[in-house]
Symmetry: C2
Subunit: 296 residues, 2 copies
């Protein structure tokens, strides 16, 4: 123990002499859910929308703007534990899907001091958790997530080329709106490709959170097909059309029902439950099949 603590002191002394970084570390949560949009026609199935939770900042900097919920990592917990704690504070739930995404460490990303933020994606089912959390007396609201590219430009350089793509992110609800434009630059030179992101415009959205949201959307889209993450957005029992809507909302495109049913057939289990809807044939309810990836 003596040996150990002297090693620690030695380390800390050398570390500080060399002026290395001692940043503040936060976790930022990308809390997604899928909710039904109300419909007029009694026959029509309600559409779904992908939503993300944002919190209105009370303090400087970015005061009054919207930001991802987050919190500082304390000395007594791992980063994962911090993410779980912050999530519980915001939603009062602990048993949800949580995944580390990316760590953001640019120098000027927080104007106060050097802050490194580790972003986590959480997927919750809107039926189980209140859609308007408002926990901690903070102004928290769900925002409808929409993203779309608005411009693409390719330039040929000496020994390669460069493609710039402008992506517009819109986060909206009944009364609020935050939006940003991010320029994604892909350069290819001598066979090496590199991708960089830059926020060219951010309205009402704090810090570099636009990048975080876009990164999370990309991860979500990449993983939805070959993992089980979509089920975390649904209740235990669901119709296949619900599952299909979740896929459609994440992927941002319509799918054919027949093909979709076949594709996810071995990820679900049929149950005896039936949902009697309105104005059309009732739907059998299914549940998640946790053994779907049992090949070996």
């Amino acid at each position: 123990m003596n040996n150990h603590s002297s090693a620690e002191q030695q380390f800390l002394k050398e570390y500080d002499v060399n002026q290395y970084l001692r940043p503040s570390v936060t976790v930022d949560l990308l809390l997604f859910t899928v909710v039904d949009k109300e419909t007029d026609n009694y026959r029509k199935r309600s559409d779904k929308a992908l939503k993300i939770l944002l919190i209105k900042r009370k303090d400087h900097p970015f005061q009054g703007q919207w930001a991802l919920p987050g919190g500082f990592v304390s000395a007594h917990e791992s980063i994962d534990e911090a993410a779980i704690r912050v999530l519980e504070k915001e939603t009062n739930v602990s048993d949800v899907y949580l995944e580390q995404l990316y760590t953001w460490g640019d120098i000027g990303r927080d104007p106060r001091t050097r802050v490194i933020s580790c972003s986590y994606m959480a997927l919750i089912n809107s039926d189980l958790y209140p859609v308007q959390p408002g926990a901690g007396a903070e102004d928290a609201k769900w925002f409808h997530v929409q993203d779309q590219w608005t411009q693409k430009k390719t330039t040929v350089t000496d020994n390669g080329f460069m493609t710039e793509k402008w992506v517009e992110l819109r986060l909206t609800n009944d009364s609020d709106r935050a939006q940003a434009t991010v320029k994604i630059t892909k350069t290819v030179e001598n066979g090496h490709s590199k991708v960089t992101q830059e926020i060219v415009d951010s309205q009402n959205l704090a810090f570099d959170h636009a990048k975080m949201v876009l990164y999370a959307l990309e991860r979500l889209r990449n993983k939805v097909d070959y993992t089980d993450i979509a089920f975390h957005l649904l209740p235990e029992y669901f119709a296949l059309s619900d599952l299909q809507q979740v896929f459609e909302v994440i992927l941002g495109k319509e799918l054919l029902a027949a093909a979709f049913r076949r594709k996810i057939a071995d990820k679900v289990l049929e149950t005896n439950h039936i949902r009697r809807s309105a104005g059309h044939r009732p739907a059998k309810l299914y549940k998640y099949n946790p053994n779907w990836d049992d090949e070996l």
Copy 2:
């Protein structure tokens, strides 16, 4: 400016009062390459092997054991910049593929003090860079990477089940050997799945670096099919069988040549170059086609 710096002071004061974390932050590099193994038969094509660079630790803790090259992030650089700098120190190169993988923040992972490590994967071409870097007077060596699961166990619980998988990681070269066993636990309860990793045994391999290596291998395997990362491991001109060997070494299984050629056809461009090998038909050389993902 005055306003800004007072906000900074305010922030720092509150931050320290609350005893939040101010960790040391490092970047750890997973530097992969693929090298030819020498062969006896003049006809036989040389096999390839996946290698990773490790450094022998000179100091406590884990003195004398092997570890991933890494370094502290300074206050004057982003995490990405730190990764580039550390990579350049180890290999004397700057223009290579580099990708952030995961951030490791468990409390006890460094026995000296709280250290958060951000792992980056770099892929370099063994033809261009010396296989024995030895830069910085450190004892650095390439290790052959092998991993394989040795045991699987599934237990049914109250409302779900748990699958434990033991994975053995072996890192070897002519004279050295490091190895570790990691237990990967997947629990499914109430439809929620969760995965945790635990190092059950680590011989000659420092810190939690066994987890980092396994994580990188998984990422590599997932991405090799639908991205262009494999080309970073090859020289500018290569035969299709070289590319196939890189895929085989990463995926850990043999592929059929005919199917492979068709699959990667639009990722490569034919050139006029020809490699006259030994004892068999010469191979046309190809190069990377940077426009391969031009859909829409």
